[in-house]
């Protein structure tokens, strides 16, 4: 009985947050003692339409009526303002005005980081010791986060080069070598090839993570800025990623005019 009380005391102490800190969720561990982030996750917001706060609006194809209208959103940017340099602000506006032609997602191009995270499709974290693989349903996009000594990218790419580390409960991923061809959303928010993203994945409950990304690009922004949002576990029985090899959904757009007998 006395031993039981002593154990309870230890348990209570172990779960008490340190003085001055907000009580933090402690996620179950993997077999090698790391926070266990394995699972299929998805953002539930309208960040992919516009990172900044936005009201609902008419969709790009009038004949589709309410089906593909833009859903409203409170915004995921700290301070709700992306700090563009003046020339870049003008380009963002031009992008937005012509997004139906220019948004790389329309062509099924690889989405880059952080956009891959909040596209309206699930992604799966497969966590090992030396590597963490992140597989995205959209376009079969993938990243392998190196968890050993940081390495340099062999080449620039659409999904960049990811080096990760643990900071307490948080997986921190440093992403470099991203090309300048991806966007952040349908609203024309963009970056250059000088983009540097630091992501933080922090468990906030058994089935939710908090996702933060700090975005730095001195060619486009006057200072680093940050987005944050929860990610939700896909808890359905038998949840798994399915094929969304969208190249074929973009072919008519890209190659239709070159048909022997164009459809229109």
């Amino acid at each position: 009985m006395i031993a039981g009380i002593a154990v309870t005391g230890v348990l209570l102490l172990a779960t008490m947050p340190a003085a001055g800190q907000a009580p933090a969720y402690r996620v179950p561990r993997t077999a090698d003692g790391k926070p266990n982030l394995n699972g299929i996750w998805q953002a539930v917001n309208s960040a992919n339409w516009d990172l900044e706060g936005h009201a609902a609006s008419t969709g790009p194809v009038p004949s589709l009526g309410a089906v593909f209208a833009t859903p409203p959103g409170l915004g995921v940017v700290d301070g709700d303002e992306i700090p563009y340099l003046p020339a870049a602000a003008a380009k963002k506006k031009a992008n937005q005005a012509n997004w139906v032609k220019l948004d790389p997602e329309i062509k099924c191009y690889l989405p880059g980081v952080p956009r891959a995270t909040y596209l309206p499709y699930p992604f799966q974290i497969v966590q090992s010791q030396k590597n963490i693989l992140i597989s995205y349903e959209y376009a079969n996009a993938v990243r392998v986060v190196n968890m050993e000594a940081p390495t340099k990218a062999p080449a620039e790419g659409w999904m960049g080069w990811s080096n990760g580390r643990w900071e307490g409960e948080t997986l921190v991923v440093d992403v470099t070598s991203l090309n300048g061809d991806t966007w952040f959303d349908h609203a024309g928010n963009f970056h250059s090839d000088a983009l540097h993203v630091v992501e933080r994945y922090t468990p906030r409950s058994a089935d939710t993570l908090n996702y933060e990304a700090t975005i730095e690009d001195s060619k486009v922004f006057s200072r680093p800025w940050r987005i944050s949002m929860p990610l939700y576990r896909r808890v359905e029985k038998d949840a798994r990623l399915l094929e969304y090899r969208c190249a074929e959904f973009a072919e008519e757009l890209l190659y239709g005019p070159l048909r022997k007998k164009p459809i229109n």
Binding site: T30, Q124, V144, G157, W158, D181, A247, Y255, L258, R259
Partner: protein, 327 residues
């Protein structure tokens, strides 16, 4: 043959001779992941010089002897191997191209050594005859496309369209000379396979869950896995009729077995079954060998100028022909 290629083939033979696979049946205990799965993680290549089907003339002979293997290696050096080794582009184009310019330099590639005479196992060593109904199905499809090959992107093969490349398509048969790299990452209850070509990723559950609804058909089907001792067994169904692996239909049923056979070898065994295409299942065994990483990003669709160039070319030819007729 140029001096350069002779040097290349010498290097190749060295690779063939040095990389000896462990003897069949030899006991070897694979390392374990933190949660106790046999650990197959790393970057592997299934590149091989062994042809899928056994060359005619070898009859039921499944393995070369050491002496025969050495003699074959010598003939590889002379570039005179006929159908006994699959040199791919190196075989046919040796006299026309400097392969190193195109990234197809086989001397820079890693191959698992293999004394099998064919990847297909068993006395026959060839793909079983295709059933009449499957021959008709495939002939009808080809006939429908004949004369329309350049009409539209829809008439082009899946790999030109960056939808499904030869090497990523399961079962994964090696492509000759290039793009055979595969990274395996294991998490609790899941095994991920990342094929470099087309950043093709499969994340396979190993928790005993059933296949998804038969209504959901996918190019790569639906894969579920389980561990049998040191072997990961992956069962795949739900293919599309367009997947057409060597003429298969949507009833294709594939069983893949991955076994870590030594520190630097994973044995990849496939059993292919489709009773609408072949009258019996057939099995092949492909050694995968360790290769230095990392896996690069192989973005295909984003840089695809092939489809638009082919279609534009066809339209130009048609316009020229129309103008000549008009004159």
């Amino acid at each position: 043959m140029s001096h350069r290629l002779l040097t290349s083939f010498s290097a190749l033979v060295a690779v063939l001779l040095l990389a000896q696979a462990p003897l069949a049946g030899q006991a070897w205990t694979p390392p374990r992941t933190a949660d106790g799965q046999p650990d197959m993680q790393g970057v592997w290549t299934n590149g091989t010089l062994t042809p899928l089907e056994r060359p005619k003339g070898l009859g039921t002979k499944e393995f070369y002897t050491d002496q025969e293997f050495a003699a074959l290696a010598k003939r590889v050096r002379q570039g005179d191997v006929g159908t006994e080794a699959d040199l791919g582009a190196a075989n046919n184009q040796a006299l026309r191209y400097d392969l190193s310019l195109y990234g197809f330099d086989i001397t820079k590639a890693t191959f698992a050594s293999n004394k099998r005479t064919s990847l297909i196992v068993g006395p026959e060593g060839v793909v079983p005859p295709v059933l009449a109904e499957a021959r008709k199905r495939n002939a009808d499809r080809a006939a429908k496309n004949k004369g329309h090959e350049f009409d539209s992107y829809e008439n082009r093969p899946l790999q030109e369209r960056c939808i499904l490349m030869g090497q990523e398509r399961i079962p994964m048969l090696p492509g000759v000379n290039d793009n055979n790299e595969l990274q395996i990452v294991q998490g609790p209850g899941w095994v991920a396979f990342l094929h470099e070509i087309n950043h093709s990723t499969r994340v396979i559950p190993t928790d005993g869950r059933p296949h998804i609804s038969q209504k959901v058909r996918q190019y790569q089907g639906d894969s579920v896995g389980r561990w049998e001792g040191n072997t990961l067994v992956v069962d795949t169904t739900n293919f599309t009729g367009l997947t057409a692996f060597r003429g298969s239909g949507e009833k294709l049923h594939l069983v893949e077995r991955f076994t870590r056979a030594s520190d630097d070898t994973v044995t990849y065994q496939i059993t292919v079954e489709d009773f609408t295409t072949w009258d019996k299942p057939w099995t092949a065994e492909i050694p995968m060998t360790k290769t230095p990483g990392p896996i690069y990003e192989w973005a295909c669709h984003e840089g695809n100028s092939e489809i638009s160039t082919i279609l534009r070319g066809a339209r130009v030819v048609e316009e020229d022909a129309a103008q000549k007729t008009a004159k």
